[in-house]
């Protein structure tokens, strides 16, 4: 099958364009429907990998440290992200605990580890084992990553509870905020060019029939 890596088709209206090099920060838009076709990356692979490792560390902190402490009539309690998802698992609404845990813990975890894996090899211009599957998963996971919604949820919870008990933010809330920013930077970006930069020994590619 013939492939045309120099072309790009708009995902939203199927118009085909030729790829043109962009200056960093620039983006190419579809003339027909105005959707973003692709963007030039401000990040090189090394920086991208460094930020992914940072995100991994922050992820651990966000999950280990409690996000909120509360006290009520001399009693104290605290909650982590995991405990929050687990709290839904009691009672009749239990099944909702699964998508909740997915969206705030498991999907971000997978995004960070898959990206780390892919980038580690991409640094050397190589495709990691399972590269194809990892890249497809990264695309599929993106809409289910909800750390930013989680952060807003925590803030609403703080305000809700501050009416009748003492509420204090924990280290986890700052880690979650940082994780939100890092995830936006590392995962909400154009990953298409990783395909091109890791082309397995371009000449050996048999796709050009």
């Amino acid at each position: 099958m013939k492939t045309f890596p120099h072309l790009v088709a708009c995902e939203h209206c199927d118009s085909v364009y030729e790829r043109t090099p962009l200056t960093p920060g620039q983006l190419a838009r579809c003339e027909r429907c105005d959707a973003i076709l692709y963007r030039a990356s401000r990040l090189d692979v090394d920086r991208w990998l460094a930020l992914t490792i940072a995100a991994a560390i922050v992820f651990v902190m966000a999950n280990v440290c409690p996000v909120i402490y509360i006290s009520f009539k001399g009693m104290h309690n605290e909650a982590t992200l995991w405990a929050s998802a687990a709290a839904l698992a009691h009672g009749p609404a239990a099944p909702i605990a699964v998508p909740t845990a997915m969206s705030i813990i498991i999907v971000p975890f997978l995004q960070i580890s898959l990206l780390g894996w892919v980038l580690l090899y991409a640094r050397f211009g190589k495709r990691a084992p399972g590269f194809e599957r990892a890249m497809r998963m990264l695309v599929a996971l993106r809409p289910w990553s909800m750390v930013e919604v989680c952060l807003l949820g925590i803030l609403v919870a703080v305000i809700k509870l501050s009416g009748f008990l003492q509420v204090a933010p924990g280290a986890g809330i700052w880690a979650t905020a940082l994780l939100m920013i890092l995830l936006t930077v590392i995962a909400n970006r154009d990953i298409h060019w990783l395909w091109e930069m890791t082309e397995p020994a371009r000449s050996a590619q048999k796709a050009q029939a």
Partner: protein, 227 residues
């Protein structure tokens, strides 16, 4: 950059998963009919199950997502049905010093409003009422117009679709608020907050409408535009 030429006219098809533009070796006329094993040319283009797959990433190639509109309608309808118990049934049980009460989503909003937290009341109202309702209407309009091959306001409809994809998942807010609050307030006898069945339905609404929007192939919006 050349002018806008559609992939169909160029005889190419782009991969959903990795974006690679490939020669269109899918069978003509139908988008869904499987291609015969021998018909798919070699070079990794042959799928195990009568599919043409992307030579780069291995995802199945389609001109348009198969059964896009039917699937999208079904999921939207499911979401709409779940939306009723999500609003009628309580999402949370709160007990404070012996007196307990069940709360629905709207009651939560009203409570915030009455206590003077107008901003928070508005945020929850937007995330749990306005966004889902807008989504039902917008997706319904998009599916119906695309089904009829309408050429009406194509650019605006395309933008509307992208907007729905962008804001849709914020509706999970209420689920996460209940999760955090229920995890924290566990003071036996004195105060307790527990999730109730309504939150399950509400979460299902969010998931169903997200899946519905994802099933819809936005390129169908432009298919009525045959030059």
């Amino acid at each position: 950059m050349t002018g806008a030429v559609s992939a169909g006219r160029l005889g190419v098809v782009s991969c959903h998963a990795c974006g690679l533009v490939c020669q269109d070796t899918l069978p003509q006329a139908s988008h869904h009919r499987p291609v015969a094993e021998s018909e798919a040319c070699g070079n990794g283009a042959r799928g195990r199950s009568h599919q043409v797959i992307c030579p780069r990433c291995g995802a199945p190639l389609h001109r348009r997502r198969p059964n896009s509109i039917a699937r999208a309608w079904a999921l939207l309808l499911a979401g709409l049905i779940f939306y009723i118990p999500a609003n009628v049934l309580p999402v949370m049980y709160t007990s404070l010093l012996g007196s307990g009460s069940d709360n629905t989503i709207m009651q939560g909003v009203i409570e915030f409003w009455k206590s003077g937290s107008y901003g928070i009341a508005l945020v929850i109202f937007i995330a749990s009422v306005l966004v889902p309702c807008t989504k039902f209407v917008v997706l319904g309009v998009l599916f119906a117009t695309s089904q009829r091959g309408s050429r009406w306001a194509m650019k605006e409809r395309a933008k509307l679709y992208r907007m729905v994809e962008l804001v849709g998942y914020w509706s999970m807010l209420d689920v996460l608020v209940v999760a955090v609050v229920a995890a924290l307030v566990k003071f036996q006898g004195l105060s307790d907050i527990e999730p109730r069945i309504g939150i399950l339905f509400f979460g299902m609404v969010v998931i169903m409408t997200m899946l519905s929007a994802m099933s819809f192939d936005p390129r169908l919006i432009w298919d009525g535009d045959t030059e």
